[in-house]
């Protein structure tokens, strides 16, 4: 698996403010997959996402298509990883187009008013995929939370990076928008990207992902297909909950049900 993996981490440790946040993480992930990263609050999910993108300093090895992450420049990393932070924050009331066009920044398109045909094409594709074309000239600060999250998603898709890292892209969204965002990310994976999604929603994770990584106290305690990674034992030990399980339309349904 390691040979085909686009991201391979080996013995990854991250220390923040003197505390070991991630310890001895090893994983290998391939393109075309949607990977859900789950775990209780404070398990180190966001830190793992940042470490994979090279946004925090880490010890150990991370390879991207066989190249050491540490050997890549900031710009090279930016073209390989599209990163969606939590909160979909935009500090100024800019039009949605300009936000999405920032996805082309790593490709040298610094001015949203002067995009090359290739960059404009990528922006348009991303806006169509996230269904935000109708907001193109609207200021993002005037959009609803759900609409804004789709603009943020379009910005990430516009990078057209082989790896998409999304930190809680569905939090604070209504059910319809949650499905919407997950379907868009699923489509990106189906088109060949590796998509890693941090989420607290085990039901969405189980339904949309190929692989689930379970983090607990900075360690990777389970990984595999949803049924295996979210076994009763893992849910009990890591989340201290029991879950209702069923099958609906040939897909797995899992719903945390009671505290343990």
């Amino acid at each position: 698996m390691t040979e085909h993996a686009i991201i391979a981490a080996e013995g990854l440790n991250v220390t923040l403010a003197g505390r070991l946040v991630l310890s001895d993480i090893s994983l290998a992930l391939s393109t075309g997959h949607l990977v859900a990263l789950v775990g209780p609050n404070g398990a180190g999910k966001t830190t793992l996402l940042r470490a994979l993108a090279g946004l925090v300093t880490s010890e150990g090895q991370v390879h991207v298509r066989g190249e050491a992450l540490s050997s890549l420049s900031l710009g090279e990393r930016a073209r390989r990883f599209a990163y969606l932070p939590q909160g979909h924050l935009v500090h100024w009331p800019l039009p949605a187009r300009d936000i999405v066009a920032l996805g082309r920044y790593p490709h040298g398109a610094t001015d949203p008013a002067r995009l090359s045909a290739k960059d404009a094409d990528a922006v348009l594709r991303a806006m169509q995929a996230a269904d935000v074309v109708q907001f193109i000239d609207r200021r993002v600060t005037e959009l609803s939370g759900g609409e804004r999250s789709r603009v943020a998603l379009a910005r990430v898709l516009a990078v057209e990076a082989p790896v998409i890292l999304a930190d809680e892209p569905t939090s604070s969204l209504d059910p319809r928008h949650q499905l919407d965002v997950m379907q868009t990310l699923r489509a990106a994976a189906d088109k060949g990207a590796l998509v890693i999604v941090v989420t607290h929603d085990l039901a969405l994770a189980a339904r949309f992902s190929d692989t689930i990584l379970v983090l607990s106290e900075g360690r990777l305690v389970a990984q595999g297909r949803p049924q295996e990674a979210l076994s009763e034992q893992v849910l009990g030990e890591v989340f201290r909950v029991s879950a209702y399980r069923a099958e609906y339309q040939r897909e797995m349904v899992i719903m945390p049900w009671a505290e343990m």
């Binding site: 900031l74 969606l84 100024w92 800019l94 300009d98 920032l102 008013a113 404009a120 806006m127």
Partner: protein, 347 residues
């Protein structure tokens, strides 16, 4: 939806920006001409142009070229630098209340200059003055960002800025207090008030290289400000070296403000006001705000410096006093507008 359609909105905005720029340039040119014409001897714009290109009487030429031209150039350059610094700091901190004067940069620069004079290390026209002012300005902006930390909210930034400008003010007062030489005290009062009167080309030569260097540094980072709209982490993920950007902006602001303060004393609030005048006209894009904010800053300081010559009063009103008198109520208005964010303590 085609590519032409998605770019249509940008063309409308671009035309609008070009129009605003043309108006700003025209306003600055008119103010420059007025600035050259206003004084004890009033000259018409035609006389001014005549004097500039070497026509008219000798007296006319001396008044325009040697007395008023340095003053006008300094007002243009210093106002522009303050406007640019304000826009750059607001962009860096994603915060509409950021500005050099609220962060104590000019006050600290003035302290640096005052210290050099009080210690008798240099006379008022030596290079030691701008260098000391720049070092002090750099120290204060650097300290502010270090104290406030990453992603600091409005409240922290403003409190830290208040503390730093109070410290710079107190240090200047201490120098004044300890100084036994009344001439030094007089010099210091001059730094505190801020003025462009009686400046010569020597002053221009002293300040301009630093202002130009600062402006080049800030404008060189222009594209990163837009990426920073998404926050530092997202900007970093797009390939912006945020730590380097911070250092460049601090250095640019310190060079420009330090160089400016070294010849003009503290002139506050231009940096705060200028970007706010431009945003309603061209939008909030922090990259596109830089140059228009600089022009607005130039226009503001030129206008203020013309006003102090026109306002009838028994003694001269200093231009720094005037900009503060106008700037502080504007700041209060901004606080009112931003008070919900301030109350929450987050930007």
């Amino acid at each position: 939806m085609s590519i032409q359609n998605i770019m249509a909105g940008t063309e409308i905005a671009a035309r609008r920006r070009a129009g605003v720029m043309a108006v700003l340039v025209a306003v600055v040119i008119v103010l420059l001409l007025i600035s050259l014409g206003v004084g004890p001897v009033r000259l018409s714009p035609i006389d001014v142009i005549d004097g500039l290109i070497g026509g008219g009487s000798d007296v006319q030429q001396v008044i325009v070229r040697e007395i008023r031209l340095p003053r006008a150039i300094l007002a243009f350059a210093i106002g522009g630098m303050l406007g640019l610094s304000g826009a750059a700091l607001q962009g860096l901190l994603r915060n509409p209340l950021a500005s050099p004067s609220l962060f104590g940069a000019p006050q600290s620069a003035a302290f640096g200059a005052v210290l050099v004079i009080a210690l008798g290390l240099a006379d008022v026209r030596s290079w030691a003055l701008p260098v000391a002012a720049i070092v002090a300005a750099f120290g204060s902006v650097f300290a502010l960002l270090a104290i406030a930390g990453r992603n600091a909210g409005l409240l922290i930034l403003i409190l830290a800025g208040l503390a730093l400008s109070s410290l710079a003010g107190a240090a200047t007062a201490l120098v004044m207090n300890l100084s036994s030489n009344p001439f030094v005290v007089l010099e210091i009062a001059f730094w505190l008030l801020g003025s462009l009167e009686d400046r010569s080309f020597q002053h221009v030569v002293l300040a301009l290289p630093f202002i130009v260097a600062g402006a080049i540094l800030l404008l060189g980072q222009r594209n990163a400000f837009r990426a920073l709209s998404l926050g530092e982490e997202a900007a970093q993920s797009l390939g912006v070296d945020v730590s380097r950007l911070r250092l460049m902006v601090i250095s640019g602001v310190a060079l420009g403000v330090g160089g400016a303060v070294a010849v003009s004393g503290t002139i506050g609030f231009i940096g705060l006001v200028a970007p706010h005048l431009i945003r309603p006209l061209i939008g909030h894009d922090p990259t596109r705000l830089l140059v228009p904010s600089a022009l607005a800053g130039s226009a503001l300081l030129l206008a203020a410096d013309i006003a102090v010559r026109l306002i009838p009063s028994t003694s001269d009103i200093k231009v720094g006093v005037l900009t503060s008198i106008i700037g502080v109520p504007f700041f209060l208005y901004l606080i009112m507008r931003e008070r919900r964010a301030l109350g929450g303590g987050v930007a």
